[in-house]
Symmetry: C2
């Protein structure tokens, strides 16, 4: 990962340095300059090399994916009312909502500019960009709904998180000239990895080691956030005739007994179900990678990424 | 114009009917369904025919321009706090700000989808889309500034209004296969027409017949809006040592003597300057059209549009 990230960061630094001063461009440079793991652009470069391309030839598309990702962050932070992003003030807090809307819009145009004019790449990008918007819409709609079916939650995290990883990999594959079958496989790898990542996040929030995760245990449960655990927990509780979760959710957020909610989720088998779900997606991701017809040595970087995400405890 | 509008409206109706139900798509369909003159998409079709293309072959790009225009309206209405658009509630009022941000973002993706994958068309669209964002940013920044130089105001209306007309015409020209010289000329026609249009709007607001313009005379002056008239008026007043305008602006908006401000602008020669400016841009637009090397008969539609805008009193 380090090599891809270094390659990408140098490219991003050149792009940032070439931005016009002031106006819309200062918030862009600020957000892009916050420390970040650059997972998505690295995926573009990794997929390009996987299929025999040169990472250098996919740098503009890697940039486009990262610009698009940051555009969604700038707008999502407004909608979610988030004061902080990566430990620093969000754009709509540091400037104002109007600037965050407009600088985000301009950043989206810059993403398209960087993406270039390959028909296959643009078709993939357009489709997935729309899905990311649809995912955010579902996420917002869920906050207004008392009951969210598990299938809808899965679709939301697929759209909001997983499809952009899939898109990044498919774009990299396109640049390397991979055929449609191979592109579908690397896309499936990304989608399953993204789903596993998000579900593992839900699990770590509830059952992880707070010392390693870096935040208070059960924050999502305390907030009543509809994650896999709570949605499936409420389903299972209804089947078993248990009303502990509903009773806790009826309390104000500050008074919820998170420890008790965790015990109920454990007793109802929801933790095990979630773990099985994570394992299934990680397995399907690995199978998709297995099925890609390139020399095994070229898969090393993506296998390492898979192993890193599979084993993570924070 | 009627033929182009009918052709376009049928295409738009097909697009709207094919949208998925609910979610992000309802606000899009609502905004696109409000009555509108469809000037920008008609320009795409007219420019395509001007250079010997078939209007039918530019319908998708006309759609893309109109979708982009409506995306900017959806977001600008949030920033400007506008409750009404075309006499109906704006999207952020009818739904909420979050939905207007997100549905707008998705509409922007749909614009790119409709625009297709021609390199020349995309290059033009990307460049002008960014300029439109820059124009809105200047417009917002001007509200915070006591003094706006006239050159900055001209650049703002060029970016915010004129470049999208120019873009629409250039895109239509591309579809018809016009060469770069011809494209530059039709682009200049659009830009001058757009500048004349906006400056005439400023003039009509102040000196038009309220019965024909359909709003109270001098609304911009009453609000202290920095248009050509007020900016140039303050410059000329400073040269002449007159402090009437500054004194009126120092009052609360409701207590300003608009009639007196109009008399001062007239006396300072600012009205005549603005009229000369409009006439200059209208002449330059006509000259750009003259210089385009196609049979004169093909220019009839654009000449009629030019005459219609030149003679308008509301």
């Amino acid at each position: 990962m380090d090599r891809y990230r270094a390659l990408f960061d140098a490219h991003l630094a050149r792009w940032t340095a070439a931005l016009p001063p002031g106006g819309l461009y200062t918030p862009m440079a600020y957000l892009l300059g916050l420390p970040a793991k650059r997972v998505r652009p690295s995926l573009v470069l990794m997929a390009c090399e996987l299929f025999g391309g040169r990472a250098e030839d996919a740098l503009d598309q890697a940039l486009a994916i990262e610009l698009f990702h940051n555009f969604t962050l700038m707008h999502d932070d407004i909608m979610d009312g988030s004061p902080l992003r990566r430990g620093r003030p969000t754009v709509h807090v540091k400037w104002d909502v109007d600037m965050a809307i407009l600088s985000g819009d301009a950043l989206f145009v810059k993403a398209y500019q960087a993406m270039g004019i390959r028909p296959d790449v643009l078709a993939i990008f357009n489709r997935h960009a729309l899905e990311v918007c649809e995912g955010q819409e579902l996420d917002m709609a869920f906050e207004q709904r008392a009951d969210v079916p598990l299938a809808d939650y899965r679709e939301m995290i697929r759209l909001k998180t997983a499809v952009l990883l899939s898109c990044a990999l498919q774009v990299g594959a396109c640049i390397a000239g991979a055929d449609e079958d191979q592109r579908r496989r690397i896309g499936a790898f990304g989608e399953h990895l993204g789903l596993a990542f998000q579900l593992r996040d839900d699990l770590l929030d509830a059952f992880g080691d707070p010392g390693q995760v870096g935040k208070q245990r059960g924050g999502d449960l305390r907030a009543g956030k509809k994650t896999f655990l709570l949605i499936r927990g409420l389903e299972r509780a209804a089947e078993e005739g248990s009303d502990v979760l509903r009773a806790e959710l009826a309390k104000p957020a500050g008074q919820r007994d998170v420890q008790r909610m965790l015990e109920v989720l454990e007793a109802l088998g929801v933790r095990r179900e979630a773990e099985a779900e994570v394992a299934r997606h990680e397995r399907e991701a690995a199978e998709a990678l297995d099925a890609i017809a390139v020399p095994e040595a070229r898969k090393a970087a993506l296998r390492a990424l898979h192993a890193q995400l599979t084993g993570r405890v924070h």
